[in-house]
Assembly symmetry: D2
């Protein structure tokens, strides 16, 4: 039974950084089932306040233009959980996700076509741009996108258990085959293991093991069967996730915290540095019990509720481009829906860059309406009206275009 | 000002049927802006009670096996709205969608691989199966899928304005190009105009016009810029839609009513025959005012609210099949998420066919988590727990498999 | 197993009317557990279209001024359920509640101080006024209160099982004691059984029994342990209710359908005539199993969701009147909250009568914040912003008062 | 425009404590409109970790039994806002409410009949009991009430602007009149100003002013026109409140933070010590613009959403006691609804004390169904099912009573 000693706060496990997935990365710390613990996460591109800060809280996008993306992602972990064994299910409660108390801001960036890209990199011939978001408690606002204020659905963009050697081999094999099919694709279709830039932040590691990890370790860019970089906004504070366990201890890692993101991030979420609070439990044999090929989760009861929305549709015809008909291509359909939303927001007065950044950062919802009515996939994109301080509902008289300025752009003025 | 005469009910416009999109199909009726009117819709495959009934309220799927799908879809309309002109926006309030009082049931079907297909037609080598749903007020239950009861999100699967001659020509050209690229695809990638089966249910029509419509009219299978077969479950009663107007009068048509459907219908919604209630208004020059390339809409405040869900994930690796890595393919990712959900429901005791039908019919939500983390698209599929009479949350002890029987299958017993 | 014969619609049980609660009123019809059935309900004050129609769809309130309220309420039933016995719990699924197809309108009335009254009858020295609401599918609008449109939370104001002789005696005894304490109260504190106006609409009834019912039968005005006139808006279509059973067959009766009502009806809901759809089941010994002293219920998943609201507070000080301090009086507190809301709506341009009618009819929510902080009870009243076609959020510049006309008032012009 | 200096965190204003409302209490700090600031709040009864800690994180309720309640409430403030003047409206954004990082726990207490009381103090002849709640991110659990876990709706129980001298005089006069009417009431009906225990934590204050404040200052127990102790759970993080301004600077004070509370706190919320984050703005002349007699507010988009609930009803008959009929008494009705809920939870296995504490602490909703159907007020109390780890829905087979132990009780074992 507990006593007054219960007033001791939950310990914060100082971050152990790594940026590859590999079974041989030793756990940085070990926790017991039921224990509450906190992990510091330093942000995708190491924003300001950290050594090597790349993106600053300022008003030009030159830092985005020149960012070095070769080292993503900085994962915190691995955390071993006592008693977890392959075949089990690791239950992870995401109890809280908060920015650092001393750093109440984040950014959303449009990356250059040739350095980072993004969903519309080619359509827009993207030049670097960004919005700095200030966090006011649960809300974000941006001096770069006036007239908008929304509650963040904070979540980790990236969370997963360590793969077994077998699973890692499967990943490397199948992704290697895809790369082999598209040897000269720009951008690359996938990323093979690459010792350059590989990092495991534990001093005592046997150099041979370190070398092996660097050479074989899977890149962190895609999500996979263990979770990983799924960018699911609903993995928010209050959610409960069930991960398959592939190695002894499960070896959970987490990173890339987002203050907010829509269902579908076009050019990046609101990236932040912060702290995530977890507790865990183990379901023995859970992979078999739940037919678990990939994590499942229960959503949080406290995500923002915006019941009034304007919903845009898109089909798999590039009617914003050359008018070409695609065959059930949901990505093309999403792009049309997003471009419809951007065009609508531009009628109100936002610039294309502001609209693009906003749709990437705010709690937008995207649903697939149909993937069966050939040849057109049909998707929807819902923009909540309650995030605007002005009325964006369609009115018979149309909109009086307002002047919202512009987001942070390059110091040479090119957009 | 109104008087006691206001007790007169809204008139029901008896259905005028057509099954092609063409500017020259004359309006079957004309309404004034602000007028409330009702339209009868007879169902996609003419279920029982209608001449030529194909799918019956019975316990074998032989009727699904042998269904003649060449004549879909039976659209009701067109309805002209006084004063609507090309360039305007037609505001359509979907005030209610209800099944026929005398026919409180519908069906969801798995179609044969060789006659109708469906999302998993090939994976499952689909044999015909079906579930009959009984409507109890706002709820559906099925004797073929015990233990489940949910509130319907009733909506028209298909609703749109008539295309102009120019828009129709654009459709036919771009879809023709796609067909030309894949001349022998099975199933076909798209459907060219086809005079066989074309139908316009208006007696006095000039035979030359009728012939022209049959030869040029666009098929109703895909959604397009005018709306059409978008299968968006959120176009439910209480929603307000903004359609671009391409011809004088707008010429609105509607059909394919669904009692319920998830975000993503795998093998069909709960198809029903029923009545839809509309009122309309016109926003002059609305296409320009709202940058309208495709309809936008405001969702209803009364869709079912199920806050507790089990959410499944999927990536663009066919790990339920041959393990192949695909390049950002959302359809592959959806299939994995759906197969994960089906496997989970089978642990509880449902058959694969029951689970497949259920996910297609119930208010499932599908979101896209990421389309940027190469090579894996990541999607989610949320199953509400509140539609089950038993607890489907993952529990440490796993599930005790129950016996839920089987859905309606072929009389030869083949599944 | 079902066959094509399932297309037969649910039978409608033609209404059997009564207006007292008594164990000896014989069931008008008997249903089996699991059976779906429909009941016609003719409205509290017999609106137009029914013999003796009192309130018309017109533009003066003279009919409200002169209404004869002595015969309320017209209950439909009783319906016996096979197998229900005292001590059981009768589970009632409210599957649907709809207005008559031929009568898509209802009314909300302010009654005269001296004929019907209402929450502010004395404060406002109420004169008759009313708003006629037109039903457009799920929505209500009123030509008497422009700028407002909301989805109805349709429900029965009055639903309950028959009391046993013992329970009826308890009611009559305790209410008689209250009346005896306040012999000359105006309005009366309670209503004793009264043979005048009593009615049981079954021809073959033994005159002695009829006489007994008329003399002993409890009035239908208050809610009691069996349910009754609880005016709970959440007993809406899709809800499931658990009633205690006091007599063989349970003998369920229902009436006073509302198209819409807020949590707290000040002067009446949107009264309508219509049809309610039920199915029932029995839990043997349910009173003991659930410690059931009064019905419990599960709310519907489909009530309107308006997430944006302006919330008003009130305390138990009559600061809109003489400033008197009351001791933890929630009714006084509610009045202040309501008067604050009315004053706010008058700033926008509504008349006091329009605001009063609107708050009574629309999906307003009322919560009790505190009943412990002596001497002030504190309550809240939430007005959804989404029911207005204009912005009612508080803005720095205040409101530009609009002209919304006036509701229907007396032909002598007195308000 | 901002620069990197934006990474500076929001300053925390160290608490300035006072425990009376009076216009002459000087502001402890002054903020500018738009500025984000944080305030430390030390808890109603000074829990452990603070000098004079009274309630500890332990397993007996002896500390509750012996608590000294004479000094409540410890308010933090006043905070002056630059530019605010009488007649204005002070807009307060409640941006966040969090427990102290080092003190992740709180308590709910049942107070002794003779020392603190509570809603059922007399019915239960209350003996001290308590539950300690551990905070895990957004969730609370209690070792004293197993099987329950819910997301907190954290909020300040007490927040308000300073009264003017005139308003204070009005309060004292009207409350004095009530006290005079009930001179010997136990418990007291209201609390007159009392110099004993009065406290203003500012050293340099003129002793005469201090004396005046102590003698005239209104007690903090009830809510009033300025806000105050309204115990409204919806004043949660993310809400925006509009306070009337009565003195220059507005002089906002806040205290009594709750980690969670239902609509209606019977015996206390989950009391916690923590930090609240605000920003403010001023609407000139807002009292007139919005007809502001008491604060209004806009609720947060992020309160917990539990859509599945069991709802209990109550009427103004003391059927859990002597069966007496009351005249439209909402408090009696609430008690019946609460006692119905307690009896239900006891069927599941909770003790009466556990059920009482749980209903007071969890996100319960209370609505008033009717205050017009004489003689019975009818109220509802909704218990969300999703806060339990076991199924509390009513089932045909009833409940198998579980053993949940007992909450913390007195060391002499008396309950």
């Amino acid at each position: 039974m507990a006593t007054q000693a219960n007033s001791v706060p939950h310990p914060t496990l100082i971050q152990g950084i790594h940026n590859r997935w590999h079974p041989d990365i030793p756990p940085f710390a070990t926790v017991k089932p039921g224990e509450v613990f906190k992990i510091e996460c330093v942000g995708k591109s190491k924003p300001v306040y950290w050594t090597g800060a790349q993106i600053g809280n300022n008003d030009t996008s030159d830092d985005v233009k020149n960012v070095d993306l070769t080292k993503v992602h900085n994962l915190s972990g691995p955390i071993a959980v006592e008693g977890a064994e392959p075949g089990d299910c690791l239950v992870v409660d995401i109890l809280d996700v908060t920015p650092f108390e001393k750093m109440p801001w984040g950014y959303t960036g449009i990356f250059e076509l040739t350095n980072g890209g993004g969903l519309f990199a080619r359509e827009f011939n993207s030049k670097a741009a960004k919005a700095i978001w200030d966090f006011h408690g649960i809300y974000a606002t941006s001096r770069h996108i006036p007239g908008v204020r929304f509650a963040g659905v904070s979540h980790p963009g990236l969370i997963g258990t360590a793969p077994s050697a077998e699973l890692l081999a499967t990943w490397n094999k199948r992704e290697g085959a895809l790369i082999a099919e598209h040897p000269n694709a720009v951008p690359a279709v996938a990323f093979a293991p690459n010792a350059v830039g590989a990092y495991v932040g534990q001093d005592g590691l046997d150099p041979k093991v370190r070398q092996k990890i660097a050479e074989e370790g899977a890149r962190t860019i895609p999500g996979r069967e263990h979770g990983g970089n799924c960018d699911i906004k609903n993995l928010s504070r209050g959610s409960r996730c069930y991960f398959p366990v592939f190695v002894k201890g499960a070896n959970l890692s987490v990173g890339d915290l987002h203050f907010s993101q829509g269902d579908l991030s076009f050019c990046g979420a609101i990236e932040m540095a912060g702290i995530i609070t977890f507790s865990t439990s183990i379901i023995k044999g859970g992979i078999e019990k739940f037919a678990l090929k990939q994590p499942i989760f229960l959503p949080s009861p406290v995500d923002p509720l915006y019941s009034s929305k304007v919903i845009f549709e898109g089909i798999s015809v590039d009617y914003h481009g050359d008018g070409k008909q695609y065959n059930m291509d949901a990505t093309v359909a999403y792009k049309q829906a997003a471009l419809n939303a951007i065009a609508y927001l531009m009628k109100i007065g936002y610039t294309r860059e502001q609209a693009y950044l906003l749709l990437s950062a705010a709690p937008i919802e995207s649903h697939v309406g149909a993937l069966v009515d050939s040849p057109n996939a049909c998707v929807t994109l819902a923009v909540p009206t309650g995030i605007f301080s002005h009325d964006i509902l369609p009115k018979p008289e149309g909109f009086t275009k307002q002047d919202f300025g512009q987001c942070a752009i390059r110091s040479d003025g090119i957009v």
